[in-house]
């Protein structure tokens, strides 16, 4: 299925447009509204957030360069703990996602038949489960006296240490939530690995792990990085799952920013935290955008 995807996407902007007589500004008019909306509500807020946190009015009302909110963030132990738990959660999720999704994607790339279809359907399925329902299901299954406790108790085993309201709660929820897109992105990458290369390697006696290590892995490196970038961007500032499933302290950057903004009425420090999350994700963001643009522009 992945092989057939190429042409459509590649034609996106390639030769799609009429040349010559249709080079006219009416196109600009048609795209104007979304472009203005995007500039006003994506580009401008980012610039504004950076400006407002570094170029501030002092007591006399004069604006000057001032990094004191950043200095506060990086000297405040509570803020640093929140940043630490966010980094830990993001790293843990990325590692677990790869460990879970790479085998599934490789299996789906080469397997055929109804069982493979079922596995693929299941792997995509979480995309259609809103994270708030997932959070509720998580509590009913892994929470205190949840379904797992019930089943363990039924066979005479002790209860589990519930991950609900611990740092593992958001990790499990976020991994579950991110499985579909990670599998899809990896699968799209694996579609580019030619069967011929694998057959050739096997013909000369390569072991299965050798085929994986020398033939498959080098060809899907880019897809792996894209998948990781995408999930890092989503997980680093995730809000709903950490808010519902995670501990109250330390909290991840998402709930932390929300609380600073809404409960403490402190937009300035919330913006500082937002800019700091931008800073930590900028590499992944740029890489991700570059990859998507390259894929589309081909």
């Amino acid at each position: 299925m992945t092989d057939s995807a190429g042409p459509t996407a590649q034609r996106l902007l390639g030769s799609g447009a009429d040349t010559g007589n249709s080079r006219r500004p009416v196109g600009l008019l048609l795209v104007a509204v979304p472009v203005v909306l995007m500039a006003w509500l994506i580009i401008w807020p980012i610039i504004s957030a950076v400006l407002r946190t570094v170029w501030r009015a002092d007591d006399t009302g004069a604006h000057r360069f001032d990094l004191s909110t950043y200095a506060f963030f990086f000297s405040d132990q509570y803020s640093l703990n929140n940043l630490g738990i966010t980094l830990w959660t993001t790293g843990m999720c990325a590692a677990l996602l790869l460990m879970i999704c790479l085998p599934i994607a490789i299996y789906l790339r080469f397997a055929t038949g109804r069982l493979a279809g079922y596995v693929q359907a299941l792997a995509i399925f979480p995309m259609f489960v809103p994270s708030i329902i997932l959070a509720f299901a998580f509590i009913r299954v892994l929470g205190p006296n949840g379904m797992v406790d019930i089943l363990l108790n039924a066979v005479g085993l002790p209860k589990i240490d519930t991950p609900y309201l611990t740092p593992w709660g958001p990790v499990i929820g976020l991994v579950w939530d991110n499985i579909p897109l990670t599998v899809l992105i990896l699968l799209a990458g694996l579609g580019a690995v030619p069967n011929a290369a694998i057959d050739a390697a096997r013909d000369v006696g390569a072991q299965k792990w050798q085929v994986f290590w020398y033939i498959i892995l080098p060809r899907i490196g880019n897809s792996i990085l894209v998948a990781i970038s995408f999930s890092v961007l989503g997980i680093f500032s995730a809000f709903t799952l950490p808010y519902v499933l995670g501990p109250a302290s330390p909290e991840m950057m998402g709930p932390f920013m929300q609380r600073t903004f809404r409960d403490l009425y402190d937009p300035l420090n919330a913006l500082t935290q937002a800019v700091i999350t931008f800073g930590f994700c900028i590499v992944f963001g740029l890489f991700y955008v570059r990859s998507v643009a390259r894929n589309q522009g081909k």
């Binding site: 996407a9 600009l28 509204v33 897109l181 299965k208 919330a270 955008v289």
Partner: protein, 282 residues
């Protein structure tokens, strides 16, 4: 784990394989991890009494469906969510579909740059971006208002509502349009009778995904809308946090899942089509 899969590569040989052990393992593990939790929720919604440590509920029934549906806050949230989702989807379609057509079919200065600039929203962690937008809404007095939530959710739909339809318009067979024009059809007639029927299904899927995505959008609604605007997912969060009757949350989950299920049925082709994953950079 990868081994068995690789040896099953050529389709002809796969037929003779007696048992797909790797597949079976994945199928069982994924069923437990993905289907089982949802079954527990569905069971809870039809439960009247389920005391720990019984493995099955002592009493099934619809009592909590009546009670949940009888709650005024549930109805208020449901109608609000539907109003929001319709408004956002309508506005999004109205501004994005013409833009998608222009990107796919017309040439104008800055076309590529503008097309890819919609990616900007995906280059930053989403909630950080929402905080930055909220700071601007604060100055404009849009916090806690219906239109504030509409605008923030509208921004979230731009990328897909442009990129997926652009792919759809680009995939239309140009020769058929030219043929129609050759036999004397006007540009509108060509668009209506040739272009739209071919691009239609993909565009419909994009619209459906936009509607469903908006319906479940939590973060913008929570950050911008609270406390005045309580959508279904936001109500669900308070049900979870306040630990009121388990069944309310379970019933609400099942109700909340209906739009997603419809999307699952209709949008599956688009998602499995591969260009979807490519849209994410795959």
């Amino acid at each position: 784990m990868t081994g068995v899969a690789i040896s099953a590569a050529p389709k002809a040989r796969a037929v003779r394989k007696p048992l797909d052990k790797t597949g079976l393992l994945f199928a069982v593990l994924l069923s437990v991890a993905i289907i089982f939790p949802l079954l527990v929720v569905i069971t809870w919604s039809f439960t009247e009494i389920w005391r720990y440590p019984n493995v099955l509920p002592q009493q099934f029934g619809f009592r909590f469906w009546d009670q949940t549906m009888g709650r005024a806050d549930v109805w208020a949230a449901l109608t609000l969510s539907l109003r929001l989702s319709f408004m956002v989807t309508l506005l999004s379609a109205a501004i994005c579909l013409p833009a998608a057509y222009a990107f796919a079919r017309m040439d104008f200065p800055g076309r590529s740059l503008l097309f890819f600039s919609f990616l900007a929203g995906h280059a930053f962690p989403k909630f950080g971006l929402l905080i930055a937008i909220a700071a601007i809404f604060l100055q404009l007095g849009l916090i806690g208002t219906f239109w504030g939530v509409v605008i923030i959710q509208l921004v979230g739909t731009l990328l897909f509502m442009i990129w997926i339809p652009v792919a759809a318009f680009s995939a239309v067979d140009r020769r058929m349009e030219e043929a129609a024009r050759d036999v004397g059809a006007g540009p509108l007639r060509v668009f209506w009778s040739v272009t739209l029927p071919q691009a239609g299904p993909t565009i419909a899927a994009a619209v459906l995904l936009t509607f469903v995505g908006t319906f479940y959008e939590v973060e913008g609604a929570w950050l911008i809308g609270a406390p005045g605007i309580r959508t279904m997912p936001v109500l669900m969060i308070s049900f979870i946090n306040n630990q009121i009757v388990v069944q309310y949350g379970a019933v609400l989950s099942v109700i909340l899942w209906v739009p997603s299920f419809v999307a699952l049925i209709f949008a599956r082709k688009v998602i499995n089509g591969g260009s979807f994953a490519r849209g994410f950079g795959g």
